[in-house]
């Protein structure tokens, strides 16, 4: 049981780390630090860097929260039958 707790927590931390890495890349990376080179690429009428800053990052945030929630629900089931 003690061991279970520890692996549950470390798997959770690993998921959080992956999600926060993506969270950082889509907003601060693509929307801010790399905005100039990305703006050379077009997405319809949008410059790609501008699109990430004003649209794309928000869609990615949404995907992240739901993906993390689904993964954690599975993890909860795996480690705690009552979860």
């Amino acid at each position: 049981m003690e061991e279970n707790k520890e692996t549950y927590w470390s798997e959770n931390l690993r998921l959080i780390f992956i999600c926060l890495a993506i969270w950082f890349v889509v907003s601060f990376g693509l929307g801010l630090l790399l905005v100039e080179p990305l703006n050379a690429i077009r997405l319809g009428g949008y410059k790609l860097g501008f699109w990430f800053a004003q649209q794309g990052s928000i869609y990615c945030f949404l995907g992240l929260i739901f993906w993390y929630g689904a993964k954690m629900n599975k993890l909860d089931k795996k480690y705690h039958s009552e979860g």
Partner: protein
């Protein structure tokens, strides 16, 4: 004009009647109902309520206007105010829900076993929430005075009364259900005009796609390219690349808004209302869906409003609008003083340029963009009436959430938790209602007599939340060893650094003339504006806390066990007292 007024009265008072009916149906019978709606709200309901709670008059009225004039620089608000929900969902909400208490200061008290920490948290919460409410109260007054042409003060009293009825009667339960209704009103009021305008300009009814489409005027040009061309021709910065004070400042600003969002107590509180840890994670997702519906439309509203404004004043390059032929909405907004024209070269035409020497649009208030947008685009009167009701819904729903955060921190944390621990539940409920009534009166008074620092309040609220509350909560969950002493030292130094920076550049308590370093970009630390400094405060908070922890030793074993327990969802009981 008469028809518009009639529609507006119907929309505004119709929605008020709806809020009252909901409040009566969902009135609170226990402290659990009053603080956390009995813990029985579903994730989708909670998501909508969080959306209404979070999206204030600033989101509804001001944000698209700021984006319209800042262009790409306005992205800090879009990313900052949405990215915070990722932090909430991953780092705070599930664990705080598992712990199962009523308020944020109570969580801090349990985790840091310190009354001092609880009092510091209550102080941060009250300052952040009160400054925030002033803005909502002003929004209510302004919406009434512009749309219904009643006195600003009378509008404010009506708004205070409406909030009082459903917040005091229903507590969290009443507030939650009215917020769901307010979310629906708000989102229709925001998106319907945007759909119409996107359709007019690009032929695409979905504003998020319209913004990336070609114009419907037959030129085949992309909307954003056209906007870039129009604004740079007049000497303004290019719309899609205009920066906000440099990359470092935008970076720090976005971080501050993100962690400030995740640390605002009135939002965190809402996660105590759902039945389980899983539901807390899910409601963060639904909340962001509800918020993203407005936030992804806002850039389209901003860009299209700017283009419409430019096209009205200068229909084709070099062919400027005659002042005598200006449209009705132009005259209406001139009356309010938020739009001002001055014929500098005496040609009777309107020149709108970036150069202050030749620019004749001497004042274009950012806040009018959302409110004037339907009129600029010649939309029907019922759409304009809907926008009025939507603006009021945004202001009232946020005010109610903030009032609840204030009253619970006083009645539950200060009175029940510290001063009179043997208070009965019935008396605590009564105290909560009395405190909320007082808070409404105080915030109404501040709305009528805004203190000199009202303009700087955003910096203050987000700075406090980002530099004190967020780091304390995060360390409490992710560092088992973090001790009470270390956390209090971190919070106090985080707030200290942030406030010192804001005050030294904006004046002590924002009183003009008392700023000792001047509000000048060149004096800013690495070019970081005072609004963006919460991120630095948070770093200081973390650094000090871990340094003190190293010197004074870890938290006692029973606290570390409590943190272990918090991290495992298991079966969760409804939020309870002790």
């Amino acid at each position: 004009m008469e028809e518009l007024k009639l529609y507006t009265y119907i929309a505004v008072f119709g929605t008020f009647a709806l809020y009252f009916a909901i409040a009566w149906w969902a009135r609170a019978g226990s402290t659990s109902d009053f603080y956390v709606a009995g813990g029985g709200i579903t994730p989708l309901q909670n998501g909508m309520a969080i959306g209404a709670d979070w999206m204030s008059a600033a989101s509804f009225i001001s944000m698209a206007g700021m984006i319209a004039f800042m262009g790409y620089g306005g992205s800090v608000f879009l990313m900052g105010w949405t990215g915070g929900y990722v932090l909430l969902a991953l780092l705070l909400a599930p664990y705080m829900r598992k712990h199962g208490k009523f308020t944020v200061p109570e969580f801090i008290f349990d985790r840091y076993y310190s009354k001092a920490a609880r009092v510091v948290a209550v102080a941060c919460l009250i300052i952040a929430s009160l400054t925030y409410i002033i803005g909502q109260m002003k929004g209510v007054g302004v919406a009434f005075s512009r749309f219904l042409e009643v006195d600003y003060a009378l509008g404010l009293y009506i708004g205070m009364f409406v909030v009082w009825v459903y917040a005091v009667l229903g507590g969290m339960k009443g507030i939650t259900y009215t917020q769901i209704a307010q979310y629906v009103v708000m989102i229709f009021a925001y998106t319907i005009p945007a759909v119409f305008i996107s359709l007019q300009l690009t032929g695409n009814p979905i504003p998020q796609l319209g913004l990336g489409s070609t114009l419907a005027d037959g030129s085949g040009m992309y909307l954003l390219d056209k906007l870039d061309l129009v604004v740079t021709d007049l000497g303004f910065k290019e719309y899609t690349t205009a920066n906000l004070g440099g990359t470092v400042n935008m970076f720090a600003y976005t971080i501050s808004l993100m962690i400030g969002t995740a640390g605002l107590p009135h939002v965190i509180m809402r996660f105590f209302t759902v039945p389980s840890v899983q539901a807390a994670r899910a409601s963060a997702g639904y909340a962001l869906v509800c918020i993203a519906l407005l936030y992804t439309v806002a850039p389209a509203v901003g860009a299209m409003a700017r283009l419409n404004l430019m096209n009205t004043i200068e229909p084709t390059a070099g062919q400027n609008l005659e002042y005598a032929e200006r449209p009705q909405w132009f005259k209406d907004w001139e009356k309010t003083g938020l739009l001002k024209y001055e014929d500098k070269n005496g040609d009777g035409k309107i020149q709108y340029t970036a150069d202050p020497a030749t620019n004749e649009m001497v004042k274009v208030d950012r806040d009018i963009m959302v409110l004037a947008n339907p009129a600029i685009a010649n939309l029907p009167n019922w759409v304009i009436a809907l926008v009025a009701a939507g603006g009021l819904a945004a202001a009232l729903s946020t005010a109610a959430g903030l009032l609840l955060a204030i009253s619970s921190s006083i009645s539950h944390d200060l009175m029940k938790g510290i001063l009179t621990p043997d208070m009965s539940e019935k008396n605590e409920l009564l105290a909560g209602r009395v405190v909320m009534t007082i808070a409404i009166i105080v915030s109404g008074y501040l709305g009528l007599n805004p203190p000199g620092f009202a303009a700087g309040t955003v910096a203050l609220a987000f700075g406090l939340a980002a530099s004190s509350i967020f780091p304390a909560l995060m360390m409490g969950i992710f560092s088992k060893k973090m001790s009470g002493k270390a956390a209090v030292a971190g919070m106090v130094s985080g707030i200290g650094v942030t406030m010192l920076y804001v005050f030294q550049h904006k004046g002590i308590m924002f009183i003009p003339g008392t700023s000792f370093l001047g509000d000048m970009g060149k004096d800013w630390f690495f070019g970081i504006s005072p609004n963006a400094f919460g991120s630095v405060g948070a770093l200081v908070n973390f650094a000090v806390a871990f340094a003190v922890l190293k010197v004074t030793g870890p938290a006692p074993a029973h606290i570390q066990e409590m943190v272990e327990h918090m991290r495992i969802p298991g079966t969760v009981s409804a939020a309870h007292d002790h």
